[in-house]
């Protein structure tokens, strides 16, 4: 084609090449951006590597015994994290069990047309603002306001049901129960806002079809809406579980920080993160290594929960596009 054009009559078409500088900037920019994206991987791997490396001494000395012993004695160099691991799992799972119905119920309430739209939006925004309150402020509130307020009620439970080991000690202030309640407050906004988003994404055709064949509001919710939003809700619940396990400040301030194991939910206890917050500053020698071992366990627990959350969202998600 080009050869046929009469060079004498048509003006020469200018095929300008890009200046070298522009090309260099382009390539350089891409490399910088790749390097920055890789930082995520570098940080993640180095967190693992550093925590693992620092805990090798304890891992080789205690092995799996560390998980099942509740000794914590810097004088005799005997360490075990059973109380803290039990505390972490127990507080986070119980708080999750309380928060799931509350959070999902709230999410349904603000996605259905029960009350006017502006009120629903207002509640949605308020719940999300609750997520913005830092955990140390919630801890302060829990120590000075919530715990003194609920103590009489806990005392009644202790007097009535004290024969059950779970309620077997007198509530004297800081303990596992207030920690569970403050965890509920912390993870509620996560469950509510993620459930709200996934309930909103359910196509309105499904709802209309259900109403059309005569289903009532709550039959529709339980049989149609929740099953189609279940992937998002499960993902949000697992995310909240991960957050509850790693939560540090509010729990440290209210759980009582005691390494003595007790079945009672009124007794002071420990979680891995509160143990780290409490002891890491003053620790040295093999205590640091043991704390790092506990940190490694916490990382593995939250990592498993997070990966499982991402997997289940992919597995369960129905595509409506």
């Amino acid at each position: 084609m080009l050869q046929r054009v009469d060079k004498a009559t048509t003006p020469k078409f200018l095929l300008k090449r890009r200046p070298t500088l522009e090309k260099l900037v382009d390539v350089g920019f891409k490399n910088i951006v790749v390097a920055m994206a890789s930082m995520v991987a570098v940080v993640l791997f180095s967190i693992f590597a550093v925590v693992y490396y620092e805990s090798t001494e304890s891992i080789s000395r205690y092995g799996l015994r560390f998980l099942f012993s509740s000794a914590w004695n810097p004088v005799t160099d005997e360490y075990g994290a059973f109380t803290a691991i039990y505390g972490t799992l127990f507080t986070s799972i119980v708080s999750l069990l309380i928060a799931i119905p509350l959070g999902v119920g709230t999410a349904i309430f603000i996605t259905e047309n029960i009350i006017p739209k502006y009120l629903r939006n207002l509640i949605g925004i308020m719940v999300e603002l609750l997520a913005a309150i830092p955990s140390v402020v919630l801890g302060l509130w829990a120590v000075f306001i919530m715990e003194p307020f609920i103590r009489p009620f806990l005392n009644i439970i202790y007097k009535q049901f004290g024969f059950i080991p779970f309620f077997g000690t007198q509530p004297l202030g800081a303990g596992m129960m207030p920690a569970i309640l403050i965890l509920v407050v912390m993870i509620l906004p996560i469950i509510t806002s993620i459930s709200k988003d996934s309930l909103n994404q359910v196509p309105s055709k499904l709802r209309q079809a259900a109403y059309g064949i005569g289903a009532s509001r709550w039959t529709t919710i339980f049989q149609v809406i929740i099953p189609s939003a279940i992937s998002g809700i499960t993902g949000g619940v697992l995310l909240a579980l991960g957050r509850a396990m790693g939560e540090t400040m509010a729990v440290t301030m209210i759980i009582g920080n005691s390494n003595n194991f007790s079945w009672s939910i009124f007794a002071p206890s420990y979680t891995i993160s509160s143990m780290l917050a409490n002891q890491f500053g003053e620790a040295d020698g093999s205590q640091v290594s043991s704390l790092m071992y506990a940190a490694l366990i916490l990382m593995i627990l939250t990592l498993m929960v997070n990966i499982f959350a991402q997997w289940i969202v992919k597995k369960l998600s129905l595509k409506y596009q």
Partner: protein, 304 residues
Amino acid sequence: MKNTSQKSLKYNPSITRNIGNKALTIISALFAIISLLPLILVISYVLIKGGSYINLDTLILEPEPPGDDLLSAGGIGPAITGTFIMTVIASMISIPVGVGGGIFLAEYSKSGKFAKFIRFGSNVLAGVPSIIAGVFIYAIIVSTKILFGSMFSGIAGGISLSILMLPTIIKTTDEALKLVPNDMRRAAFGVGASKFTMITNITLPAAFSSISTGVLLALARAAGETAPLIFTALFSRYYITSFDDLFYEMGSLSVLIYNFALEPYEAQNQLAWAASFILVVLLLSLNILSRWLGTLGVFSKNKV
């Protein structure tokens, strides 16, 4: 006509399914009220109780060492500047890295293997407990004294906060850039722009408001974090007076609340309430500002 109630088209409130529906609706309303209650209680306590301890002295003085013979516990001035400085350090690290990473994910490799891995990694990093970030920075910076021989320092605190901000910024940048229509990219290429020009002059400005929403949310989260600071920046009662002070212990609002809430003295507890007033007002306004910014953008989530 015997079964009029079943055949009538009128709403009959007394049949079982309608009673059940009413009951479930009331239960869900109750759940919503229970969920909102702590928010209202916490915010009103912090604003009323904390606000009552706020005066000029509280805002600018240095806190006094704990003791019960004191009339006044001083103020929270150094903690306010400390929180500000450490958040700025964290932003200086995490905003360029996070926005850069987001640009890579959205513009260079939308669904490549490496991009998928980075997305997965940033989700995992977002789930890493904040105290682990503190432990990590303690192990590589504080205990090794790698920063010119200083141990606990404001810079170490800032770096540990940047780890927490990074995943949020990457994620929002990635999603904001994906919302920019491809037509704009093709148009830019069509008039001869290089990829670098296209990103810096077309897509980044178009996604600016959504990205700044994410940055502000990350900032708000970092400013309220305590766990990564308690053994990286530690705490200090003094104002910083020179650049060198960045390499020494630095106070922050959140660590002040933690330390002073556990003191047995009333004066210190009051300072903790005053500090939480400042912190909560700051974070709530950052959140509301970011919401407002999010509604401004042409291609923000709320509009498309």
